[in-house]
Symmetry: C2
Subunit: 309 residues, 2 copies
């Protein structure tokens, strides 16, 4: 079985930084990335990046290019299109899938740099919709959604901001939230509640998304009324961010919101497992800078452990 | 009196990052730097920098240029040649000296990004030697020290590494350490102890450095013998690194080695005072990456406090 001293899962800024630092410190290291390219959430940044000192990038793609070029120039080892399907923390091995083949890799230290994702509804039809590419940005896709019936799901800033943005262009906007309490800022809520173009439906859950080639309707279940079907052309899920910890959540301590609990050197409750980046950082403090900094710290720490042993 | 919401002391990577982030978040912020240029310890990095993801810089100067350019492009406010001479944490004001004038600035939050410096002996003649520019690198100044009598002061890795490097070129190398216990790695100690070109003097303290135009001798005091004067041509002080906390050490909690004690958002024991970079980071974990990351975190945190108030 292949063995590496340090195995990093996830090729976003945190994982790239940890790998660059491992290389710099002479530590045997391999990075695994599920997607076809390194970069992680950098691919979802469409705006200028002005807060990574020393680099002013036009967008996430430009930052991705610079970081990956650095990673490649350093000769860091990595495998893309490689999905980790399980972690066995007792034998310190991970099972990975590459296309149709599976293999196992053993590690001395495991660094989880799995990032975070938009939280999902977990209802039938949702993944198919995402797989069909029916994923919209309220700020950038106004033209695409012109004259359509749009459902926004969620009760936070992004749901309300999106509803407000789309109200002037869409035929009808539904804002659907499972409770009557909104997390969104008051000024956003007020704007939307007074907007005739938005119908706000509270105490309502989405139970299914229908449509073969594109979304045609959703099923709704309300507290006080029976189930009903609502015709819509697009669904925007705005439930917030969740750390990607499915692989590990039963094996290490996590917070209520799913973040991996770490100490000052980013060690989890399992002494061989570390976490960096959005897998352990609350969205409030998430940034490319802090992810890169965390990669440096964890690499320096595991390097010191490996040199002692 | 001038007031700023956030006052940053120190213009190295940590301070630059905090300022860039404050600007990005719309926070009123001013950075003070004692030297004529921003950059801090970047000016002491003569090697290639390969561990700040996304930038591969030839040396500290190149990194300094990129970071300062970013800082300037963002329109961050700063004052150079500005030495903070005292901090009054009760009135939340600092007194600064610019050439011959003094002024006071009040703050809501103070961020200490004062970095660290080589630890000094604190003996007569030392500062004069430094001011004359008699500061050597064991790795880069072999040629300059050829045929000279050289004293290295310290018991750690850098003292022993330096003694070993210089032994083949200098006329005589003295390694002088105040105790008989060495912090340096065993392999370094063994190499030096078996090297006929190095005389190791333990239980010995340097009490003065003599010389008008250049170093001519040092005074030594040993545990078991009387004081003596030793003729040398150069003194390399290798006592390790100390955080620059003179201004604040009586006002906030510090560790035994002088580092400012902080919580996860970099707040010190005084709730209005924060620390980032080498003022609060052990040398083991010090890096440009982690300093930049810390700047992001503290700016995000104080920004959230300012928006609440």
């Amino acid at each position: 079985m292949q063995h590496v001293d340090v195995l990093i899962i996830g090729g976003g800024p945190a994982g790239i930084s940890a790998a660059v630092w491992c290389k710099r410190l002479g530590v045997d290291c391999l990075l695994l990335e599920e997607q076809a390219q390194l970069g992680g959430q950098l691919f979802t940044i469409y705006n200028e990046i002005i807060d990574y000192p020393g680099i002013q990038a036009e967008n996430g793609i430009e930052m991705q290019r610079k970081m990956v070029q650095h990673f490649i120039d350093m000769g860091c080892l990595y495998e893309v299109n490689t999905k980790v399907i399980s972690i066995d923390e007792r034998s310190k091995t991970v099972k990975v899938k590459q296309q149709e083949t599976e293999k196992e890799i053993s590690y001395t230290y495991l660094i989880l740099a799995t990032g975070s994702s938009q939280r999902k509804l977990g209802v039938p039809g949702e993944q198919q919709m995402i797989d069909r590419g029916e994923v919209y940005s309220a700020s950038a896709d106004g033209e695409r959604l012109k004259g359509k019936r749009v459902a926004l799901i969620g009760g936070g800033d992004r749901a309300f901001e999106g509803a407000h943005l789309l109200a002037s262009q869409a035929k009808q906007v539904y804002l659907i939230h499972r409770s009557t309490h909104f997390k969104a800022r008051e000024q956003y809520v007020e704007k939307v509640l007074s907007d005739p173009g938005v119908k706000v439906m509270t105490d309502t859950e989405v139970t299914a998304i229908h449509g073969k080639h594109h979304v045609t309707s959703i099923d709704l279940k309300s507290k006080n009324s029976e189930c009903k079907n609502l015709s819509v052309d697009a669904v925007l899920i705005r439930l917030g961010i969740a750390p990607n910890v499915e692989l590990i959540k039963e094996k290490v301590t996590t917070t209520q919101s799913g973040l991996i609990v770490i100490n000052e050197v980013h060690q989890s409750s399992d002494p061989a497992i570390y976490a960096i980046g959005d897998a352990c950082t609350t969205p409030l403090f998430s940034s490319i800078s802090s992810s890169a900094g965390q990669g440096a710290i964890v690499a320096k720490y595991v390097s010191s452990l490996l040199k002692k042993s």
